[in-house]
């Protein structure tokens, strides 16, 4: 059996004494789309921030493509792409300029960045609006640019942190299609979302995280089977069953 592309082991992070991530462990195979699900404040984004080398973990470690996030962060950053939960764009610049800039930051030459920017805009069906400033874009278009930027530099692992929040069905569908195409190309995806049907549809396996700990991890089908008939039970039922119905603000 081949080594997992991502191996997270006992990852921990405290903020002012509060455990945000408390011993999270999981693995992701190369080319797999892995879902990280959980209510607000469960620790999903903190986990992604540590894996993306933005935050230093207080304990544990993770290997991405064989590189430690603690000791080989520079190497990790060479093979990842991040699509953050909040839009991270320069609104005063055009989409193509945003893509070229982040492409250069991802290690591409000027020529490569321009070529890949054009390709990614085509992929997101934004070629005709590429020279418009981002501030003129709709929410769905901005989300697509946000994803297009994450793809600059040909990452091997893509972090998609709630990439479809607040957008129209057409843009969401476009993002789904893109993720499925990426999987076909062998790109590994770590996906977080509050939309359970998205995870059910896209992810081969999901981990449900609450209170900073993984409370369940399996394929959506197996998780559904544990609480009833997998053809009638939804992943949302599983989620509510495991995390409870109390509000998390």
């Amino acid at each position: 059996m081949s080594e997992p592309f991502v191996a997270v082991k006992d990852l921990r992070k405290d903020f002012n004494g509060q455990k945000a991530v408390d011993g999270v462990s999981f693995t992701i195979d190369k080319g797999e789309c892995f879902g990280l699900l959980g209510p607000n404040g469960a620790g999903k984004t903190t986990t992604i921030r540590m894996l993306a080398t933005v935050l230093a973990p207080d304990g544990g470690d993770a290997a991405i493509g064989g590189f430690s996030i603690k000791n080989q962060a520079d190497k990790v950053r060479e093979i990842i792409g991040v699509c953050p939960q909040d839009l991270a764009l320069y609104e005063e610049m055009s989409a193509v300029d945003n893509l070229i800039f982040f492409g250069k930051m991802a290690g591409l030459s000027g020529k490569e960045a321009r070529e890949q920017a054009a390709a990614n805009l085509r992929l997101m069906e934004l070629s005709d609006r590429g020279k418009d400033k981002i501030q003129k874009y709709s929410g769905g278009m901005k989300r697509r640019v946000n994803l297009a930027i994450a793809l600059m530099g040909h990452p091997q692992l893509l972090f998609l942190d709630e990439p479809t929040v607040g957008i129209d069905p057409q843009s969401r569908n476009k993002i789904f299609e893109t993720i499925q195409n990426l999987q076909k190309q062998g790109i590994t995806v770590l996906y977080t979302t509050h939309y359970m049907e998205e995870a059910d549809h896209l992810c081969k396996r999901v981990a449900i995280i609450d209170g900073g700990q993984v409370i369940a991890m399996d394929s959506p089908y197996e998780l559904k089977k544990k609480i009833g008939n997998p053809d009638t039970v939804t992943l949302e039922h599983v989620f509510l069953n495991l995390t409870g119905r109390s509000l998390r603000d």
């Binding site: 080398t53 933005v54 950053r77 991270a88 320069y90 610049m93 300029d97 982040f102």
Partner: protein, 392 residues
């Protein structure tokens, strides 16, 4: 370095694409320059206003007013007593001369008369000069009366009429004014200190300090946009990010200063080609110091607003302590504090180069201090950035 330049270029591109920001920041030096030209471009001589309340309207009061009106450095403004007091109270005017109602009658009767001179505080530079001119006119008038009294006393009992004595003395005084017994020969050495040269250093330092505010917002703006975290997941190193942000902040402050200097060079001709290059070089080093201090603020500021306020507070402090607006007296506490203001060293150096036509060798110490501040502030800000944000 390639990544750092890409960061700086992106900042500059954003700046150039924001037309409002661009127009404002590039027009500002042009407007400042126009104001300097308006203030100093036409004339260098002093000109002030003598505010006078004339409650007398007699011949001696009129004689005094005539003397003042003939002075080319003064504009005589006659005010009503009530208006004048109100204006002085509101600081609309800063000095006032009051000729009392009995002024001429007392002098005609051979009695002493008194003119009142009022001013707010020390009257400022203009008030003091106007006072000197008025005082000189009063002294001339006084001299006439004193001479007349002495001559009248000496000729008492000789049968010469008072009117003959008065007319003769007045003629003698008038002759003394036009052909004085003791004259002054003017021996000019060089030209008058150029007001543009005197004020330009302060204005330059103000412009360069824009680097602080621009630099201070560097990370807070990226945090607000969410792009800071995204950048930190790319191959760019924190050092490259710092360098890029520093270059962008420094560059914008420097460009504005260069516009001001080029206009000053072209219109006022206060530079030689060499001194112009020296001032440009000094501006670059000062902009670097300002940009580095801006990065220091950027490293601890959590929001663009807090970055702005810290930068404004720092800029105001450094300008006040730096001797831009007023000269600091040696030995005072504020003078000691001024040694910690980068503006102090920049002002010293700019004054040496612009106002005193010095060369680069005259500004070695301030130059080294500003360069040292740049390096020190960049090193500290880099450490603070990691410590405060908890990021790499």
């Amino acid at each position: 370095m390639k990544n750092a330049l890409a960061i700086a270029l992106r900042e500059i591109k954003s700046y150039l694409q924001d037309r409002g920001d661009l127009a404002f920041s590039l027009l500002l030096p042009v407007v400042t320059f126009a104001l300097i030209y308006g203030a100093f471009g036409g004339q260098n001589l002093f000109h002030g206003t003598a505010n006078i309340v004339n409650e007398d309207n007699g011949p001696f009061a009129q004689s005094l007013l005539n003397t003042l009106e003939h002075n080319n450095s003064l504009t005589v403004k006659i005010l009503k007593a009530s208006d004048a007091e109100a204006k002085l109270g509101r600081s609309d005017i800063i000095q006032l001369m009051v000729i009392p109602a009995d002024f001429s009658s007392k002098l005609a009767a051979g009695q002493p008369a008194q003119i009142t001179f009022k001013q707010r505080g020390n009257g400022g530079q203009e008030g003091q000069i106007v006072y000197s001119i008025e005082n000189a006119a009063i002294s001339d008038l006084n001299m006439g009366f004193q001479v007349q009294a002495v001559v009248s006393q000496a000729l008492d009992g000789t049968g010469i009429s008072t009117s003959v004595i008065f007319n003769t003395v007045q003629q003698a005084v008038a002759t003394e004014k036009t052909s004085p017994s003791v004259s002054i020969r003017e021996d000019l050495t060089g030209s008058l200190p150029d007001p543009v040269g005197q004020f330009l250093p302060g204005i330059i330092t103000m412009y360069v300090l824009f680097s602080i505010t621009i630099g201070a917002r560097a990370f807070a703006e990226e945090k607000r946009k969410g792009t800071l975290e995204r950048l930190l997941t790319t191959r760019i190193t924190p050092g490259q990010l710092f360098t890029g942000k520093f270059l962008a902040g420094m560059g914008r402050g420097f460009v504005q200063t260069v516009i001001l200097l080029v206009l000053s060079y072209a219109v006022f001709h206060i530079f030689t080609p060499l001194s112009f290059l020296e001032v440009i070089g000094l501006s670059l080093v000062f902009a670097a110091a300002g940009g580095a201090v801006g990065m220091l603020i950027a490293s601890v500021a959590r929001t663009p607003d807090s970055a702005n306020w810290i930068a404004v507070f720092f800029t105001m402090g450094t300008v006040m302590l730096g001797g831009t607006f007023f000269t600091l007296t040696k030995g005072t506490v504020i003078y000691t504090l001024s040694r910690f203001s980068i503006n102090t060293y920049a002002n010293q150096a700019f004054k040496a180069l612009v106002a005193r036509s010095g060369s680069f060798t005259d500004v070695g110490v301030p130059f080294i201090i500003l360069a040292g501040v740049t390096v020190f502030a960049l090193l500290i800000s880099r450490r603070l950035f990691s410590a405060v944000s908890g990021q790499r």
